[in-house]
Amino acid sequence: MTSNARPLSPHLQVYRLAFTTVLSGLHRITGLLLTASSLVLVAWLVAAACGPESYAAVGGVLASWPVRILLAGALAVFWYHLFNGIRHLVWDAGFGFDLRAARRSGALVLLFAVLAFGATLALTPAWRWLLGAS
């Protein structure tokens, strides 16, 4: 054994990200994206309170193509953060800490998030709105 074989501190350029690490980082990033989305919710409600003209003006911005895509992204991010948040609450209750369980629950979170995102688009008028209707 040479000293080269000894473990070194994680070096970012060669550090292989673990699946669970990526999910953990995503929880924080999606949380911040939802904070940004809450600004949109408040702006939208204020516009509705101000009357039809203001609502139409804000609605025009929300219905523009880039914002449509961002809002669809916000919906996906919402589901991810919700399911991964439940995963965190289960950990807080003291369950699922070992590595295999953490990997498995992480994969379940991704699966549920994709299914819920697909279902909310497919089973509601959201997909029509997203494709450009009204």
Binding site: S38, L45, A48, A49, Y55, L82, T120, W129, S134
Partner: protein, 114 residues
């Protein structure tokens, strides 16, 4: 964050998280179940007192949880000279948003937005 208050922050973040599971699902369901998102539809939706109360609860819990989460990120990444100011700015912004949100829902629920 200093040790003082950390336990309470941790507990409060879990309380808001647990409240947001049903409230968040309600919000997405109610929003997407509207026949359309015209001004008239949204005003009619929030004119129902229970719907307005749920919207207020969802908005407040979401902003509370957001303030808690942003604070953790600020504590982790914003270094000392600016730390206190950024933290205060986030608190004030979240508080202001909560007030504006409540005012907007109040106006709509009482027919002011129609």
């Amino acid at each position: 964050m200093s040790g003082h208050g950390a336990t309470q922050h941790w507990r409060n973040q879990r309380i808001s998280a647990m409240a947001l599971v049903p409230l968040g699902i309600w919000f997405v369901y109610a929003l997407l179940a509207q026949p359309d998102l015209s001004h008239a539809s949204v005003v009619a939706w929030l004119a129902h007192p229970w719907q307005a109360v749920l919207m207020l609860l969802f908005g407040w819990c979401a902003l509370w949880h957001s303030a808690q989460g942003v604070q953790v990120v600020v504590d982790d990444y914003v270094p000392e000279p600016q730390h206190a100011r950024v933290r205060l700015a986030s608190r004030l912004l979240h508080g202001a948003l909560a007030l504006v949100l409540a005012a907007a829902i109040g106006v709509i629920a009482t027919g002011g937005g129609a």
